[in-house]
Symmetry: D2
Subunit: 333 residues, 4 copies
C-alpha cells in the first residue's frame, strides 16, 4: 500500500476531491447498522449513514445470495426468490454531493469475513452466458443446478483439489442513485450497478455520476475472484469487510461510470448487445481524453485503435459491461 | 527466442505435429512468386506453393490497402474499391493435411519491409466501431476521412509527436479454406479469416481446421500494433516479412480456430452480435479442457467464471472476434 | 362496436374476469384529477384513483412531450429534459388485483382532445433507429432536429400535402407496477411499459402481470398512427381521451404482457437485441398454447414456424418490442 | 391472374425491363437438365441455362433436404451432412445482364411436384430460434429431433388432424452471384440468398443486384407455407415446379434485394443482430423513396415511422432477414 500511495496522491480523486486535505473519519457500516439490505437502487429508500467527503467507511457486505446458500446441497432455486438477490449496503449520503458532481469511491481493502470463510459459486438454471435465459429465451432443458462452496482466505481461493486461484477481490456492484428510477441490483447501467469488473478491486477508484442529493451510494456483491465475463453467471461470492474512501468531484458531470487505476484510466459502458457496451466505453474514453487530456477527437479514436485495452466485465447480467482503457503513459503531455 | 524455445518444445504443435523431428526447409513466398494476391478465401484459386509439414515459409505480405495509400493525402474512398482490400498470400498447400486434421501455424517473426517503413491507419467512411456502417445502417453524415502514415521499425511505432507505441506485431488474417464457400478476406469465421487478434504475433501458434486437401493456407494483414477491438476499423497496417512454420496435427478436428501461447491456450469465436462470439469462444475452450485436459464440463464452466481471460479481437469486421483463454498453470494435472 | 361485441363476449377477459356480470362504473381521470403526471413506473407513487374490477375509466392522456412542442419551430432539445418525457396517468388501483393475477385492460375508444387537434412527430437528436444513439454510441454528427405538427381528427391524419394516413390510434405505454423497481416510462419490460405496439388500439385487450397490490395501472403515450418499428423514434403523438375497461383475472400469472384481438392472440417480449424480443414473444406464445389450448409444445413450435405472425412494435426504445401471434382459427379444438 | 395482370403491367419490371415487349420463350429446367444441384452461390460453377431478358423458366426445385427425409422416422442428423443442404437450381445466365444492373425475377406460379405431394418440416438439433445454436453457443441439451411429413396440394397444407393451413407458397432462396465470394445457400446477404420471406410468392417480383456477367441466377427452397420468422428453423419444405419470368433493369444498381407486390414495395436487409437487418431494410426503403419517388429523405424517414410495414423473414439462418415496406398508395405523386 505504501507503494500505491504514490499514484493515489496524483489521482483525480486526490487532486480534485472536495475532501482533499481533510482528516478522514472512519465509519463502520456493520450488518446491524445496515439492517435491511436493498435489492433495488434508487431514491426511495432511507439512508443508513451520512459521511463527509473524504471519509472512510468499513462496510460489512453480504454475499450475493445473502448467505442463503450454506452447503453444496443448497439449490439456488430452493433458497432464492427473485428479485431478492444481490443485497446492497446503503444508501450512504455524502455531504456536498449534488446532481452534476461525480462521486469518487476508492476501494482501500477487501477482506473475507467470518471464521473459515467460504465463497459460493452456483450454476443457476437459465442464468449464465452458455445457457438459454429469461431474455435469450429457448426451449432447451436447463443446465444442472450446481453449488460450489470454496474455502478462501486473503491470499488464496481453493477452487478444487486441482486448482488454487489467487485471491483477487473486487466489488461487483457499486452505484449512486438514478434520478427517478429505481433499478434492481442485478442490472448495471449509467448509475453503476452490477458491473462485475475485476478491475474494481483494492487500489482502484471508481467515479460515479451524482444524480440525487447526497449521491446515495450503494455497495455490495464482493467477489474473491472472477474471470472476464463471469461466464457461468456467478463469481466466488463472499461476505466481505470492504473499506472504502469516498470523495466528491464538484462539477464533474459524467454520463457513465469511470475507473482509475495506477497505470490506466477506464471508461465503462453497460448495454445489450455486447458491442453497444463496448461502443459506449470507447466513446466515453475518447470524450475523457478530449476533455481532460487535450486530445483531438480523431487522434484519440485512431490511437485507441492501436493501444486501447478492453476488459469484459460480465455478459450474463440483464445488461453487459465493458471497460475501455488507456495507459496513463500515453496521457502525459 | 532462446527462452521461448522452452515452451515451444512442449507445445501441441511440437508434440503432435506430423513434421516433428523433420529438418525444415525454408521457402520464400516473395511478391513476385505470389503474383496476384487474393481477396477471397476458398477452394477455387491456384496454389502458389506446396510445402511439407514442419517447413518454414518467409512470406512477403502486403498491407491491407495493398500499398494504394501512399501519403496522408490519399483518401481511401479514392484509392480503394471494395471488395478488393486486405490482400492475401497463398493458397499454400501443406502435404499430408486432409479434412478433419488441424493445421498449425507458428509465427516465428514479423519484420517491416522496405526502407523507412511506414504503417498506414485510415478512418474509412462508414467503417469502424463508432460510426454507422453498411450493416448498422444509419442516416448520419459520415465521419471525416483521415489517413495517417506512421513511421515504424522493429522496435517502435511513432504514432505522433506525443506518443510512441511499442512495435507489437501480429498477423490480422490467417485462414485455411472453407469446404465449398469462398469468403472475402474481411470476414472472420470458422476457417479463421480476419480475426485481428493481437495475440497472434511472434511466438504464437494458431491451429486451424483443415477442410480441403492440403489445407490451402492464406495469410496477410500484418499489424505493427493494434488495440483491443481495433476500434477505428484499421490498425497500423504495414507490409511485412512474416516467417511462419507450419505443421499438421492429424485427426484433430476443430470447429473453430485455436491459439497457443507460452502461458495460455485460447479458443476463438467470430460472430455477431459480440456476445455470440464470446459464447463460441468460451464453449470451445470448455470443450478443449474436457477433451484434452481431463476437465469435467461443469467444473470447467464454473472455473472459467473465476479465471477465464477474454481478448476482444475486433468489433468492426462483418463478424466480430473474441478469444477466451485459460492459463496453462491451471491445466497441469 | 356492435359487431365487435361478439368477440369481446368470448374474450378471456369476459369469460374469466373478476368483474364479469358487474355493471361497470365510469370514472373520469381528467388532467386536473391526475395532477402531476409520472415519468417512472413503480410502487413509490400515490394512487390517483381506485376502481372495481370491470369498471370503465375515461383517461385524459397528454402527448409524449407533455405538450411542450407547440409549433414546428419548437426544438425537442430546447423544450424537453430527460427523463421527463412520456408522461403517464395513474397509478390506478384495481380492487381485488393481487400479485399473481393478471390485469386485463380493454381499450374501448381513443379520441383526440382539444379543438383543431394536432399530433406531433419529432426527429430527436441521437434517438431513433437510423442514427447513432446513447446506447449505439457513435461519433457521427447528429441528424437534423425536425418537428412536424400534424392535423388530425378521428378519421384522418393529414401527414403532408401529398399523404393522408388513416387515423389508427393505439396506446404506446401501458403498465402495471414492478414489484420493487421503478422503471422510466421510455422503457418496455415484463411489466408492459413503452411497447409501442400498433395492435394495442380500440378493440384490443391487454393482459399485464400484477406484481403489487391493486396492480397500479399506468397509461399514456397515445399514437394517432404508427408504422412497424416506429423507425424515426416518434409516432404521431397526441393528447387523447382514452376510455378503457379494466378487469382482473385471478390466478393467471404472466411473465410478460399478452394481447387479445378479435382474430388472434399475441404474446409480447421486450429486450435487446431484437432477436431476443422475438424469442421471448414466441416462447410465451408457445407456453400459452400449451397451457390454455391443449397444444403439445413441439407441435406448437413447429406449427408457428408455418403460421406465426410477428409485429415489430418499436426498435428505438431502450428495449425493443415484438409481438408473436397466432390466429384464433387455429386454436379451436 | 387476370386481375393481377393489371398491376404487373405497371410494375417496375414491366416498365423498365430490357425484355419488355418481347415474346417470351419458356425454358424448362428439369431435374435432369440441372444435374448436380448447388450448395454454394458464387461465380465458380458452370451455367445450366442461358435465357433472354423477358423469358420464362419452369424450374423443378428440390426440397431443402434434397429429398433425403422420406418418412417421419428419418432423422435430419442421420440423413443430412452440412453444408450440403438447401440445394439450388442454376446458375442461369440472363443475356444482357451486366454488373450494375438489376435482375427482375417474377414468380408466376408455384406448384407441388409428384403424386401425393408432401412437405417436410424438421426440428434439427441446435438449429432454430428457440434453441442454442452453433452461433448462440450454449451447453444445454439439444431439443428433440422431430420430423413431420405434411400432405399438401395447391390449396391446402394438412398440418395435423386439428389444423389445416392455406397453401401459401413462396421461394425461400433466390440469388444472383456475388462478385468474388461464393456463399453457402443457407445464408442470406446482399446478393439475396436464403431470405425466407413469405412475400416472395406467386405475383411478386424480386429485384437483385447483378454483380457478375449474366447475373448467374440461383433459385431453390420452396415453402408451401411459412410463419414470420420461421421460428423452428424450417418451413413446410417441398419439391416444386416454380415458373418464373426474368428481366433486366439496365443501370439500376442495388446494394440489397428489393421486392414489388401489387400493393407495396419492400426493401430487404439481412444481418445480425436482427435490428441491423431492420435498419438496412428501412434505410434502403428511404433511399428508394428518395431516388424513384421524389421524397425528401427526412420526410420519408418520419413518414415511415407512421406507416412503414415490417415483415420478419427468418431469424434462424446465419443472417436474419427483414423486409420494410410502404404501400404504393403513398407513393403516388
Amino acid at each position: 500500500m505504501a507503494k500505491a500511495a504514490g499514484w493515489l496522491d496524483g489521482s483525480i480523486m486526490a487532486m480534485r476531491g472536495l475532501g482533499r486535505g481533510r482528516k478522514p473519519t472512519l465509519h463502520r457500516l456493520t450488518e446491524e447498522r445496515q439492517g435491511r439490505y436493498h435489492y433495488t437502487i434508487g431514491p426511495y429508500s432511507d439512508p443508513v449513514l451520512t459521511v463527509a467527503a473524504g471519509d472512510r467507511i468499513a462496510v460489512e457486505t453480504r454475499d450475493a445470495f445473502e448467505g442463503a446458500i450454506r452447503t453444496e446441497r443448497d439449490k439456488p432455486t430452493k433458497r432464492l426468490r427473485m428479485p431478492f438477490v444481490n443485497p446492497q449496503n446503503g444508501p450512504i449520503l455524502i455531504e456536498g454531493a449534488e446532481p452534476g458532481d461525480a462521486l469518487a469511491v476508492q476501494i482501500e481493502s477487501m477482506l473475507p469475513r467470518g471464521e473459515n470463510p467460504q465463497g459460493t459459486c452456483c450454476m443457476i438454471p437459465h442464468f449464465g452466458a452458455l445457457t438459454g435465459t429469461a431474455l435469450t429465451a429457448t426451449l432447451n432443458p436447463a443446465l444442472p443446478e450446481i453449488t460450489r462452496k470454496v474455502p478462501l482466505d486473503a491470499k488464496r481461493v481453493r477452487w478444487s483439489e486441482r486448482v488454487t486461484l489467487p485471491y483477487s477481490p473486487h466489488i461487483g456492484t457499486l452505484s449512486t442513485s438514478p434520478e427517478i428510477d429505481s433499478i434492481n441490483s442485478l442490472t448495471p447501467d449509467t448509475h453503476g450497478g452490477n458491473m462485475d469488473l475485476p478491475d474494481m478491486g483494492p487500489g482502484s477508484i471508481t467515479y460515479l455520476p451524482v444524480r440525487s442529493p447526497g449521491a446515495r451510494l450503494f455497495i455490495g456483491d464482493a467477489h474473491a475472484c472472477q474471470g472476464d465475463g463471469e461466464v457461468c453467471g456467478t463469481a466466488v461470492e463472499y461476505a466481505s469487510l470492504t473499506t472504502i474512501r469516498v470523495d466528491v468531484i464538484k462539477g464533474w458531470t459524467l454520463e457513465w461510470p469511470r475507473l482509475e487505476l495506477e497505470d490506466r484510466i477506464m471508461a465503462i459502458g453497460s448495454a445489450r448487445p455486447l458491442e453497444d457496451a463496448a461502443r459506449i466505453a470507447y466513446r466515453e474514453l475518447i470524450r475523457w481524453m478530449v476533455d481532460d487530456y487535450g486530445y483531438d477527437q480523431w487522434d484519440a479514436y485512431m490511437m485507441l485503435s492501436q493501444c486501447g485495452r478492453v476488459r469484459l466485465g460480465n455478459f450474463v447480467d440483464p445488461k453487459y459491461t465493458v471497460g475501455a482503457a488507456i495507459l496513463k503513459t500515453y496521457l502525459a503531455s
